[in-house]
């Protein structure tokens, strides 16, 4: 019987009387009777908030992979980076949380300016001129990038490295069912994309990951040049934390950069809500999907912000819109801009550099274990693929019992998509963030030794 409704019996009586109705049921009298439900919905009876809270606490306790029970070395697109209390507390201010899309800029400068600042940071991070107000996640960001390439080139052939996260490629393929794109995958050799045999004729986009799903730092300039040589757009899927130390994709000539923004202030959250980062060149601005906030003046000459270039969007352009996106991930975008301001240039650098230092330390120690080795000798930053003498799934399982989330088993992740490595069932993707201590890594190595022995 719990609810949040303010109506007292008197309210109900008087409001119905004003409408000339006798009962609440009469509100629905014009709905064909045959359709009207005569019984309650088949959902459990309502509980009070504290009862529901107890239920959720029980559910939460059932997740063994929670941070209080397992130390996280899993990455593969979702990372356990620092989220300081100040970022959480600012990002959860109720004015942001309970606002709608900023349709009335006079009373929405808070969200609008925060998103403007977010766009500015994403643009600098990716090295491109313009960024949008966010997309759902990295994977659907890539879909939008391909749509942009299609719109820009009029072509439908999408050439994608197998170094791109397998889930992203799956999502691309799902949506290609509608748009009819041809998806051409380019294999990895020794962990990095081998562009040599690829036919780029009629390509709309050439897509490379930076670093790729195995953690390898791939060549970015070459595929961008290839793309341009064939009249295609060059698209980079970037790990945004890695860009704290790696050069921006824009510097290598990328036309579009997408990324998963979760590492910027969003908890692991079992995969969502995350944040699709998206930036492109000014040339593509009219094809940019989603919202853009721009600067302007109010009628008294004060600087102010407003959503702009709205003619691209679905509510105005309808079936000809550049995208169908409406709700996006604004709150995560605001949080990301807060997190990036918290980190600043040096902080972001440190996060990337320390994560890398940890990963290299751990990789070196693990490689000493007999039967354990790195899948590739390509350069990597804070994530690497490990070849195990036993099933990676088993290792994850057994190490979890010892309080360590060892990583992500590649075959569990790839669900049949190829990531260019043989025997994926013995490959473990390991990620190290700036949060992981030497102690935790030592214990990781010890447990791994036992498990593979």
């Amino acid at each position: 019987m719990a609810d949040y409704l303010p109506h007292t019996d008197t309210d109900l009586r008087e409001m119905l009387a004003f409408l000339g109705l006798e009962s609440l049921d009469e509100l629905f009298a014009h709905i064909p009777e045959a359709l009207r439900l005569t019984h309650a919905l088949a959902t459990p009876e309502g509980l009070s908030e504290p009862d529901v809270a107890a239920r959720f606490q029980d559910l939460a306790a059932l997740n063994q992979a929670r941070s209080s029970r397992t130390v996280c070395f899993a990455g593969a697109g979702a990372y356990d980076h620092t989220v300081p209390p100040v970022v959480t507390s600012l990002g959860s201010r109720s004015e942001f949380v309970t606002a709608y899309t900023p349709y009335q800029p006079e009373v929405a400068q808070g969200v609008l300016q925060a998103v403007f600042e977010y766009q500015s940071m994403v643009s600098r991070l990716f090295g491109l001129e313009v960024a949008n107000a966010s997309l759902y996640d990295g994977a659907t960001g890539l879909v939008e990038a391909l749509n942009m390439a299609h719109g820009s080139t009029g072509r439908s052939r999408m050439v994608i490295s197998q170094g791109v996260h397998p889930h992203w490629r799956q999502v691309v393929k799902t949506f290609a069912r509608g748009t009819g794109y041809e998806i051409v995958e380019v294999p990895l050799v020794n962990g990095v994309t081998d562009w040599s045999g690829v036919d780029l004729g009629e390509a709309a986009a050439v897509v490379v990951a930076y670093p790729n799903v195995l953690g390898a730092i791939e060549e970015v300039g070459a595929p961008m040049n290839l793309a341009h040589a064939h009249g295609a757009l060059g698209v980079v899927c970037a790990n945004p934390v890695a860009l704290g130390v790696l050069r921006s994709p824009g510097d290598f000539g990328a036309d579009v950069v997408v990324g998963e923004g979760q590492p910027f202030g969003t908890a692991l959250s079992f995969g969502g809500p995350y944040l699709g980062l998206f930036a492109c060149t000014m040339e593509q601005i009219r094809r940019l999907p989603g919202r853009i906030v721009g600067e302007t003046l109010d009628l008294e000459g004060r600087r102010a912000f407003v959503t702009t270039l709205r003619a691209r969007e679905q509510d105005i352009r309808r079936e000809k819109a550049t995208s169908n996106i409406c709700s996006n991930q604004t709150l995560m975008a605001i949080t990301a801009s807060i997190q990036l301001s918290y980190l600043g240039p040096r902080g972001l650098y440190e996060v990337a550099a320390r994560s890398a230092a940890g990963a290299h330390h751990l990789a070196a120690r693990l490689s000493e274990i007999p039967g354990v080795s790195l899948v590739s000798d390509a350069p990597f930053l804070h994530e690497f693929a490990l070849r195990l003498p036993v099933s990676a799934h088993r290792v994850v399982h057994e190490m979890a019992a010892e309080g360590l989330l060892a990583g992500v088993a590649l075959d569990h992740l790839s669900e049949g998509e190829s990531c260019g490595v043989r025997d994926p069932e013995t490959v473990l993707l390991v990620a190290v963030t700036e949060k992981r201590t030497r102690e935790e890594m030592d214990s990781y190595v010890d447990v791994m030794k036992k498990v593979v022995a």
Binding site: Y4, P6, L27, H30, I31, L41, E49, F56, N63, S68, T82, P84, V86, S92, F96, Y100, T101, E106, V107, A108, Q109, G110, Q113, Q119, M121, S123, R124, L125, Y136, T140, V171, T174, R177, G178, L246, L268, S269, F270, G271, G272, P273, R291, T296, D298, T308, Q314, D315, R317, N324, C326, T330, M332, G344, G347, E350, R354, P379, V396, T437, R438
Partner: protein, 500 residues
């Protein structure tokens, strides 16, 4: 350009100045970050990364102290209207009160710290939560199975259209067109295009309902399906829905239900019973997971039995007393990088569990009562665009007012800000002239609605007396009306563009 960091002049609480951007607050060398002491030795990056990839200088992010960051963001929050501050009767958006218990749920470490790539044995709680939610959503919509992956309503729409396509293709049935009423939300046609179909627009009749004759005329065996909301975007219940369903099914088409307006019919009538095959829901509307200034939302899709084999995968599934991931036989594949906006899903389940079946019906009843009451009380000020009884929202028109005084619907909306209310949705649905679409939602009290009525009446009166005054509103907001043309003409979408 350096600016003071500790001044509240920009906040509406004091003064009328603008808030500097975080970049303007920045000062080289200042910083806020603190990182864990790990005991790991620093690494010479050039020893592991080829030189050409090493960034020459750090990303040009703002350099601020934690204190200045807090001041800036807190002041920005004071420049933002929200449900928690007041009445937000934005039509089609269902800006109801978002219970704080849901915030608490998302704060549970056992939920928010779980990595999405773990094997099912390590995330049984999450899987159970998701299966429970799927079951509840099926019960609410009268459907057989659901996917929780779509990240928002529009993503749900596209997912639904791909399901439609997969279904027809599985029957080797090539179809080309999808019907959409002219009152539909813009995401509907945009999704149809992305689903690889063509849009056929169906006109609405003078009663605001789909013109059934026109619809029947548009049908043919190249029609993959139709997308409808019911109640529709005019807030009216499509009373001929059974006839429509039969007609569409008759030519082999499917019915897609845009669930943005589900709030109106919770526990009253179910899309499944009306004949719909596919339904998306906007959890951020009907189930009160807040809207976050533009997102995140969640747009689960529920389907009838015959479409279940095509749902996106992997899906959480109950197997005895355990939970596993499973992919439907003919799955269209993933539509999200992981499993959907999981914490939004958790919020929605908490909301549903508190209400239960009868609570959800109370929601619909009160939502409709409030809208109907509002429309009736405004009858002589801003008449309804259509005659039929409205459901959870009402579309009014300022056409009469405009003809009489020159004051437009947009002006009325802006003037409302001055009275302390958020504006309604303006100029939507597109088929209504000078449309003002009000959705009070069930969580607002009668007194609040009465106060809105009073405000609108006084604006209408002022429009006669002093139309320029209304057109100049709002005056006391943090900024006044904006030069939107300038924003588009001289695009400045980043700090760098501002200083170029």
């Amino acid at each position: 350009m350096s600016q003071p960091g500790g001044r509240a002049a920009s906040a509406p609480l004091m003064g009328r100045e603008i808030e500097p951007t975080i970049f303007e607050l920045s000062s080289p060398g200042r910083s806020a970050y603190q990182l864990r002491t790990t005991g790991v030795e620093a690494l010479d990056l050039t020893s592991v990364v080829p030189g050409e990839y090493v960034r020459e200088e750090p990303v040009r992010l703002p350099e601020v102290s934690e204190r200045d960051l807090v001041g800036h963001v807190t002041r920005l929050s004071h420049r933002q209207f929200s449900v928690d501050l007041g009445f937000y009767p934005l039509g089609s958006c269902t800006m109801k009160y978002n219970p704080k218990i849901a915030d608490w749920v998302t704060g549970l470490e056992g939920l928010n710290s779980v990595h999405p790539g773990v094997p099912s044995e390590l995330c049984q709680g999450w899987l159970e939560l998701m299966v429970d939610l799927e079951e509840r959503l099926c019960a609410v919509t009268g459907m057989a199975a659901a996917t929780l992956q779509p990240a928002a309503g529009a993503a749900g729409e596209l997912t639904g259209l791909l399901l439609m396509r997969a279904y027809h293709e599985s029957r080797h049935d090539q179809r080309r067109r999808v019907l959409i009423p002219d009152s539909a939300h813009g995401t509907n046609p945009a999704s149809v295009t992305l689903g690889g179909y063509e849009v056929t627009t169906i006109p609405s009749g003078p009663d605001g309902l789909v013109d059934v004759a026109a619809l029947k005329a548009a049908l043919g065996d190249d029609v993959a399906g139709i997308m409808l909301t019911n109640p529709n975007t005019a807030g009216l219940f499509e009373e001929n829905i059974v006839e429509i369903a039969e007609a569409v099914h008759g030519v082999g088409g499917l019915l897609y239900y845009d669930g943005a307006n589900l709030n109106a019919i919770l526990g009253v009538v179910r899309p499944g019973d009306m004949g719909f095959d596919i339904v998306h829901m906007n959890l951020h509307k009907t189930f009160a997971t807040p809207h976050g200034g533009g997102g995140p939302g969640a747009g689960p899709v529920a389907v009838a039995e015959h479409l279940a084999p095509f749902l996106p995968g992997p899906q959480p599934a109950r197997e005895g007393d355990h939970f596993v991931w499973r992919s439907p036989e003919h799955s269209i594949g993933r539509v999200h990088g992981w499993h959907g906006n999981a914490l939004v899903l958790a919020r929605a389940l908490a909301y549903i569990e508190v209400h239960g079946g009868d609570g959800l019906r109370r929601v619909a009843e009160r939502a409709v009562l409030n809208a109907r009451y509002l429309q009736a009380r405004l009858a002589d000020t801003l008449p309804a665009a259509y005659e039929g009884p409205c459901m959870h929202e009402c579309v009014l028109t300022a056409k009469g007012l405009k003809d009489e005084t020159g004051v437009r619907g947009l002006d009325v909306a802006k003037a409302l800000l001055e009275h302390g209310f958020h504006a309604p949705t303006v100029y939507f649905p597109l088929i209504v002239e000078e449309a003002l679409m009000f959705e009070p939602t069930e969580t607002e009290s009668r007194e609040t609605i009465d106060a809105l009525v009073d405000a609108l009446r006084s604006i209408a009166e002022q429009s006669v007396r002093d139309p320029d005054g209304v057109r100049a509103a709002p005056r006391s907001t943090p900024v006044r009306r904006l030069d939107e043309a300038r924003a588009a003409r001289q695009l400045v979408a980043t700090e760098d563009a501002a200083h170029r």
